[in-house]
């Protein structure tokens, strides 16, 4: 039983498998099913979304390769919005509490999910983390996914918005190489643009074009966590999303 919302979802329920019997002379039947393979994940994701909506919380999933600046962006965002917007963070990594510790050092609650060898977060992991993260008095919950440009794209977590970061050192052709991930995003952030003078092979125009070719239709913001107009645009995007979420909850 889920303590927060009284739902019947516990930690992922596993039923005992039942074994196959040897081939016999029984009837052979073909049964048409046609369901989404991840329908159980989608059901839990919908439940998470209801949970967020019930608390008027905007939930945002951050996806990118490892090292593109997700945690640094969150640290800078928390500092910039201190006293204005109440933030909580769920951190996903294969191992270590490092990222959650960095976020807690900024004075906001953070839950670390360590996935072991799993390369992505799923809706059930987020749901379980919510049990140790009170959403009362929170405006926005960031879910920092496992650094990986492939696997996280296949799993709906129940968030309202998906963000993908592309850092300048990674190269401007990342969207063409990982189309599913970038297409799934509502907002793309080109990060570490303060490195542009040192990495002349990165073209912002080519990155934008690559995003458009894979079917990405959201806004693209170029920024560095050190501040400037791009960082202000990011804060503006966040403020307007939070306002829209509050209006929807009212």
């Amino acid at each position: 039983m889920c303590r927060d919302c009284g739902c019947s979802l516990g930690p992922a329920a596993t039923r005992a498998p039942f074994a196959a019997q040897p081939a016999g002379k029984g009837h052979v039947e073909s049964i048409e099913v046609i369901t989404a393979i991840l329908d159980e994940n989608d059901r839990v994701a919908a439940h998470n979304r209801t949970h967020f909506d019930g608390h008027g919380v905007l939930a945002v999933n951050l996806m990118s390769s490892p090292g593109s600046g997700k945690t640094s962006l969150l640290e800078a965002t928390i500092k910039a919005l201190q006293g204005e917007i109440r933030i909580a963070v769920i951190e996903g990594d294969l191992a270590t509490e490092n990222d959650a510790a960095r976020i807690r050092a900024c004075g906001v609650p953070a839950i670390q999910i360590t996935t072991g060898n799993a390369c992505h977060l799923d809706a059930q992991m987020v749901h379980d983390a919510l049990h140790s993260l009170p959403l009362d008095g929170i405006d926005v919950l960031f879910v920092e996914n496992v650094g990986n440009l492939v696997c996280p794209a296949s799993f709906d977590l129940g968030v309202h918005r998906n963000l993908t970061l592309l850092s300048v050192p990674e190269g401007d052709d990342k969207p063409a190489k990982y189309p599913v991930m970038f297409r799934a995003a509502d907002l793309a952030l080109i990060t570490k643009i303060d490195l542009l003078p040192h990495i002349e092979e990165f073209s912002v125009e080519r990155a934008r074009d690559s995003l458009r070719q894979v079917g990405f239709r959201g806004d693209i913001i170029e920024l560095t966590r050190r501040g400037g107009p791009g960082f202000e645009a990011w804060l503006g995007w966040l403020r307007s999303e939070i306002a829209a979420r509050r209006a929807a909850a009212a």
């Binding site: 039942f18 099913v33 046609i34 369901t35 390369c119 189309p179």
Partner: protein, 120 residues
Amino acid sequence: MHELAICQALIEQVQRVARDNDARRVISVTVSVGPLSGVEPKLLEHAYPLAAAGTVAEHAQLVVETVPVRVRCRTCKAETEAASNRLVCGSCKDWHVDVIAGEEMLLQRVEIETAADPVH
């Protein structure tokens, strides 16, 4: 390699179908997968035996039907195939297109063997 997690979800569903239909064993499992689902058919086939081990689907054959990406152009209305990293109209090259196929990750059908008829 999230294909193992996907296979585990698949096997949960297959077991449910097998239970509901009094299956003795599962003969084959057919799924359809599009390139935009983020699932690699080859990896799915490798992961499947690990997820199926010890279940009613243990020796069942996994059949993966791949679905090509298709887009409908908002400008010229043509429906054409497209590459997953180049979602443009195959006819007029416009990028104002809607994806109409290629995102699928579906369990299509399960072939089972049920108990033989009682002898009359």
